[in-house]
Subunit: 206 residues, 2 copies
């Protein structure tokens, strides 16, 4: 296990982007007073939306929580250890997946008509597929937020059923992660970087 | 729904990186004859390993399948529609999660001793947590592969239990996705880009 912050071969992106998106990016704990603008979220989504999902199913949905009133509603549903983090963040995204994503498949996957009807009775499969692909999209979104100059702080809520009832009532969306977003206060305010596995610790070559 | 390939505000990365990682990146179907080198996989991992996971749990594991013999073993376990894709790709990554990730927590999360022991009996929780966080890491890995100049083609195997028995026997790892990797043959060989949701179609602001 090492803390290598350089890459072993020429990357196809410049060092600034590699540092910003991955090597120097950290889970932010302290924020500047700057607000998160609609344009910044839009910029992050303008990239993250292109990340691949199974059958272009795109099941990720999210609430952008910024108003004091909505923040207060969300705070009630966070574990004690995460309440202050949500309170401090300029914006908090509550991520959910849509188990009824199949209703959009005629638009999203137009060359294969009938997917919507075929998936309709497969309730359990749809739930798994939606959660799986929304998690992939969460990876793209976290990178996309950083590409838009924002920092992300992912964390868990205490009770996602309660979050669904409070923020996504009537939609059928199922929340699974909370991500604080803002402009990170300079280096040194985060926890020390934790170790990462080297490639040979997590792979085998066949 | 639109096909906007520009971003509404200044990004913190240059346009070349935004195009390479997201806007012009496509699920590759055709490959140049160039091999995928160890250094290229290492370069992708040198970035992707830094993406955040819950409690730094880093549960993603993968097999790098390149030899004709290993390719043949994997081919047997792919659905008919995906066999030719695996056969054509210079390398194929078989992604899995490690439900026993807790055994590494003393190293990965050293400031909170006891996590390993606390998680040991929570078999079901560990399985869910490992799969969830390995999927986040898959998002980072797909972006990391692109940053290393590679293209990725994610797809499903036919029977992941069979894949586990064939490629991950004795490890306890559970496979969940197969990703072809290589150097994409020039533009125009992919399927047409499918539509994406606009931000306001997948979010609400509170």
């Amino acid at each position: 296990m090492t803390e290598t912050l350089t890459s072993p071969t020429a990357l196809a992106i410049d060092e600034t982007a590699a540092d910003l998106l991955f090597r120097n990016a950290r889970t932010a704990m302290q924020w500047t007073p700057d607000q998160v603008t609609d344009d910044e979220i839009e910029a992050a989504w303008s990239l993250a939306k292109f990340g691949p999902t199974a059958m272009n199913s795109l099941p990720l949905r999210f609430a952008i929580v910024r108003s004091p009133e909505a923040k207060a509603r969300l705070l009630e549903l966070m574990p004690d250890g995460n309440k202050a983090k949500v309170e401090a963040a300029p914006a908090t995204l509550v991520l959910a997946y849509d188990p009824n994503f199949h209703e959009h498949m005629d638009t999203l996957f137009p060359h294969a008509p009938g997917v919507r009807e075929q998936f309709a009775p497969a309730v359990e499969m749809r739930d798994t597929m939606a959660r799986t692909n929304a998690l992939l999209q969460t990876g793209y979104l976290i990178v996309g937020l950083r590409a838009a100059g924002l920092a992300a702080g992912p964390m868990h809520a205490a009770d996602y059923d309660a979050v669904d009832a409070e923020l996504f009532a009537g939609s059928g969306f199922k929340s699974f992660l909370v991500v604080n977003v803002g402009h990170a206060e300079g280096a040194g305010t985060e926890y020390p970087r934790l170790p990462r596995f080297d490639l040979d610790e997590v792979t085998k070559t066949l």
